[in-house]
Amino acid sequence: MTDLLWLIPFMPIAGFTVLVLAGSRLPRSVTGTIGTGTVGLSAVVSMLLAAGFGVKGDGYVVTQTLWQWLSVGDFSPRFSLYLDALSLVMVLVITCVGFLIHLYSIGFMKNEEGYSRFFAYMNLFVGSMLVLVLADNLVSLYLGWEGVGLCSYLLIGFWYRDSANGYAARKAFVITRVGDTALAVGLFLLFTNLGTLQIQELMQRAQAEWPAGSKIAVIAAALLLAGAIGKSAQLPLQTWLPDAMAGPTPVSALIHAATMVTAGVYLIARTHVLFTLAPPVQSAIAIIGAATLLLAGLSAFVQRDIKRVLAYSTISQIGYMFLALGVGAWSAALFHFMTHAFFKALLFLGAGAVILAMDHEHDIFKMGGLRSRMPVTFWTFLIGVASLSALPFVTSGFYSKDLILKLAWSSERGSVWLWAAGVAGAFITSLYAFRLLFVVFFGDRLTRAKSDPGISMTAPLVVLAALSVAAGLAALPEPASGRQAIQQFLSGVLPAAHIRDERTPELFLLLIASCASIGGMLAAWLLYVLFPRYAEGLVQTRAGRSVHRLLFTGWGFDRIYDRLFAGPFLWLTRINRDDFIDLVYEGAAWYSGVFHHLLGLTQTGKVRWYAFGIGLGAIITIGIAVFL
């Protein structure tokens, strides 16, 4: 049965191929079935393979070599798949969430032109992501890595007639490619120094040859980190993600939950050996994560566009995952990736339902009271918001976030400050999440809203809501080791964090974190349900206005980058459009033209001028001969 591994990435890619070649001639029902079905089949195959892992997971690996990609000298990467507990968790989430998003898209996109193009790109997106997580060498990983970048470009710019969408799409591709290029240079460095790009072998060699903290390990890890930052939209390369909202809503769900932005988290977890050899880089990951989760959380708090709130929320939540990676809590990062995939997909699809019901209105302050018109959307959205806010005990987000906070405190690489940032972030998260819920679903009822969408769109919402709760079960302690089930499952791949001090005040931490979540919820209730005037008044003050503008524009990163990079680049290329080097040659041509003209003047046809010239020339020549 393990021979079926290749089917997992193959199915969506086959779907893509069929839809690209024949899509425009197929009826919509067939297109939707191919698009959704292929991803569904991948999900089924991954579940079959998951059965082989059992609950323990540790150390079990399935590999399959497809063909030799290329072979030059000592460089010979293969197309080869590698499934261990880490990639299995990724594959399951990608295929299952991906399937639900595809299913939802059948309804969501039914009135759009370019239906087959949409499903083709979506399939390629899932397929590339599967190649990325199943790759056994870094070149194949890079193939998937660039593939998801391409698909994000294609799908963000799906509605290509609006030039703003094209701009957002190019922005996403180019900014992530900055990271990709750093990653590529990292691959060159790793291969030149360690002689292989097979991930497992590479990690062994790095461990054997590079002492912890050596310069080369730090540079290699930093280059990989730069790649991860770009894809995962962390500081300072986060600016593309809020604009990525230009694509259809299911695309956002796919980018934020199942594919693309989690690639960076996966890359770091996959090459965690390298990062443990580079402590400064690992500390940088934690600090980047903490800073990103706070800055993006605050930006999410002031957004008016429903999707932008969720976009900043994603940046912030990935910040949590980076925080976890930075303190060595590898499996906690994966756990949060999983719960986040469920509730963020849920929130985006719910937001899509709201947007459809409001005739493509995105401004949350033009919505309100949707609770009664759209009960299914409301209740599932509520579960998503609760999970995002990590409300204690019933939501999966609570367990994954709690694990991260606990380890941010107690891990060898953790600190009180990182923990405090996480707790503050938890308060902010809860604040903006419930703000969103209250503004959209509570308050005065708007009559123009339509009701819940059809079953093909609500069913994914319900399933994702159930998963958002049920994923918390992965936090159940394993009787034998006392560790959480997910940690145990991943223990063969990802080592446990080194605990600095065994006497962690766990109950105290839990209490504080819970208070932060509930406090955020209550604050949102006060500000947006009980005293809505107060929040408005705060923004009207002078200080309030400027803070609001700063947060609203995502801390002004776009402007800084425009000034620093885009502006000068555009200016330079514009003034050099005609290529100043060509001026040198043009100059040479001009001078010969001038000389031609001057010499032409001497041809007067008058004999005395010629005689004069001959005489003068003779005198000069004789003069030179005599005097020199």
């Binding site: 690209v20 000298g73 000592d74 007639r161 094209g166 120094n193 002689g195 002492p211 050099n576 060509d582």
Partner: protein, 517 residues
Amino acid sequence: MTVEWLILIPLIGGVLAWIGGRRSSLLPRLISVASLGAGLAMTASLWNASPPVAGRTAGQAWIAEFNTSWIPQLGIGFHLGLDGLSLLLVLLTFFLGIVGVLCSWNEIKERTGFFHLNLMLVLTGIVGVFLSLDLFLFYFFWELMLVPMYFLISIWGHEKRAYASVKFFIFTQLSGILMLLGILGLYFIHGRSTGIYTFDYTQLLGTRLTPGQSLWLMLGFAAAFAVKLPAVPFHSWLPDAHSEAPTAGSLILAGLLLKTGAYGFIRFLVPLFPDAVESVRLIGMVLSAAGILYGAALAFSQEDLKRLIAYTSISHMGFVMLGIFAWNELSLQGAVIQMVCHGFSTGALFVLAGILQARLHTREMSAMGGLWAVTPRMAGMGLFFGLASLGLPGLGNFIGEFLVLLGSYRVSGLVTAAAATGLIASALYSLRLMQRVFHGPKRDDLTMADIAVRETTILAVMAAVIVVIGLYPGPVLETSKPAVEGLIQKGNPSLTPPGRGPGAVKPGGESSGEMLR
């Protein structure tokens, strides 16, 4: 049937096409396609019949050879040799030649006979350059490419064709004369020291030269190759020639003529003057990286579609040159793949630009936009070749660029990192092209037919080749492998830095930091 027929077939075909052009305008096209097809088939059969790689050692890389004396008094021979490298390039030549005839099927309406004569003569010259093993013969073919190309641009070109064709002629002619001086210098130095006056490449290899002689002769050769390639700052003939030439001319310029420069570097420059090349290697690599970035920056700002594509060629050929100066198996194989794939991807982009120009009567991108809604098939093709051009993994150009950079990292990490930023720049210009031409609001004044079956077929075949090379480059790499290995041995041993063999695990310690340059 031997290798000399690869040169005779296009020559004869060209003459027949010229004669046939007096009867009808269809005849030259058919004759050209048929003779190029025959050449393609013959090359393919040579490829097929070539002994397996295992049976050929690096020393005997020739798949086919032809040697007869031509002007024995002067030591000039008609010496041709076909190894894996030239085989791939000859295949590319015939293939793109066919594409060139097909894509000008409806474009060229005047003097079709003479057009096809010139087209076939250029191709003859190109094939000759790829096969010559006698420096005099090489120079002969090198110049043979020039004149018919000049006619192609100046007769069938666009508005500024006179300016462009003269500029092209002066650049290539001047630099060609410098190469001729280099050839003659080498000829006399070799003759004086050994008593054998010969232009034969195999005999001239290993001529003892003082460092000064070697450097100056090398520069003479390098002038010609750097102009053809083109290397910055000798590139400024290219955008004019490419954008003013008819579609087939642009296709052949970008797809083939530029490769003769790269081929000259690989076949002649480094093996003949290994020490001199070694001394200027870093300059060469820096110029290559500069070309990658400078070409990309210029491409980004163009408004003329063909000019944009022309500048991307400078950027892409920078990778080829970087691979050559890095001079190891990884980087050279990368350069070979990049040459082949650039021929297809940029060639296809020029075909698309030609189609657009034929329908819209302009090359200005400001007059385009929103074409995805009007001509979805053409837009899809444009997207594909745009992505190939930006080096998307899974497509052939990625293999080329990745191998080049991987190999050049061994020589200089800094230059490689700088060249790698070209990947960002290529995304900028490729996506801008997509946006300006195919995306954006649909314009009501733009109505035109989507690409027809003939055009779709040409482009689909080219796309397929790029996909196959991207996913399974094995056959291409194996073909060029013996040639590349043999050439590497001819270079200065210090040119090729040792790689790390698999399994050669060094003991731990700080010493591993030494490879970090």
